[in-house]
Assembly symmetry: C2
Amino acid sequence: MSYELYYWPSIQGRGEFVRLALEDAGADYVDIARQKSGVDKMMKAMARHRVFAPPFLKDGKRVIGQTALILHYLGPKLRLAPKAEAERLRLLQLQLTITDFLVEVHDTHHPIANSLYYEDQKPESQRRAKSFRESRIPKFLGYFETHATLPFSYVSLSLFQVMEGLHYAFPGTMKKLRYKNLARLREKVSERKTLREYLMSPRRIPFNQSGVFRRYPELDG
Amino acid sequence: MSYELYYWPSIQGRGEFVRLALEDAGADYVDIARQKSGVDKMMKAMARHRVFAPPFLKDGKRVIGQTALILHYLGPKLRLAPKAEAERLRLLQLQLTITDFLVEVHDTHHPIANSLYYEDQKPESQRRAKSFRESRIPKFLGYFETHATLPFSYVSLSLFQVMEGLHYAFPGTMKKLRYKNLARLREKVSERKTLREYLMSPRRIPFNQSGVFRRYPELDG
């Protein structure tokens, strides 16, 4: 039976971390909300299964929410993580640190409220983005750099996506930074055959101004 | 062998969610950073084991970071979670939603940068807290309310702590809200014998103006 992924149909967002894993593994899955009346189906499934927010995954009767947890669950099934518990927990720990980072990326353009437009929190965004560029990017990427040489796993795919996103959203900032291991990982992942087909296909939604990573030049310093 | 908990010695913060689990279970543990030269020991262990941030737990040779993951790991060992994998993942999913909520609680007083004082981001805090009180508390507590009748687990202890913290930080806001199941859970947890001894002991650090939950009347509306 196919996996069912439930996520917003017009953005990469957090769902993209799951899409990358499913696509790289060549897994059989349906991206439910991108079908006809898909968002409606997603909202109904979310209420029925009492999930807090997309993305969530259905695998038969199992329903799993929270991006990092979905990847932890899929890891061994898609051969994107070893089966040994200790190693699985180490990967999940790293993935949860990526989760923390994504909140901070998102809050560069939404430091006040998710329910407000970016335009209604612009001065605050500029203050927050300054601190993000100067202290948070180095802190997190410095940490990820020391883990970027681990064996290939779903975490590698997620770090690839983080680097893609940062280069999209903060091109000026990223041009000044050197993270050798992360740069190499990004290149190696982009060359994976199945994944590359996905990245070139229309299934890969382009980065845009509604996702987690957004390009506002005034936030790039 | 005792568990070793590594967390800041003067605040409840995220470490308190782990302390509550260890204490309720009557587990044998050492709160490393609260010993002599403890913070120094913590910083060294953090570097040695390449952990991103406190809290982290040492169990013999195992080192585990990320609050929710520590609880997931300890759950079955402390009899605060069943052993069955499906049920464990359901609890972890809930705990990760609590993690998400704690970031939002923290950001009510630090919407711009963790590295700045609250006093240097006061107007932004007031804007963020307004949206937090009006949309985020109802969204998260409404969700937790529907899960507050689940069998006792580490998630119950965490929800207790969330309610304690919100009543400390936002007393005016909380007085106006009614969450029957969460209120009952809070009361039941506070009456657990071993936990109550902890809560009355000097080991329970009082809420203060350095933790995740802080009482700034101007943020309480």
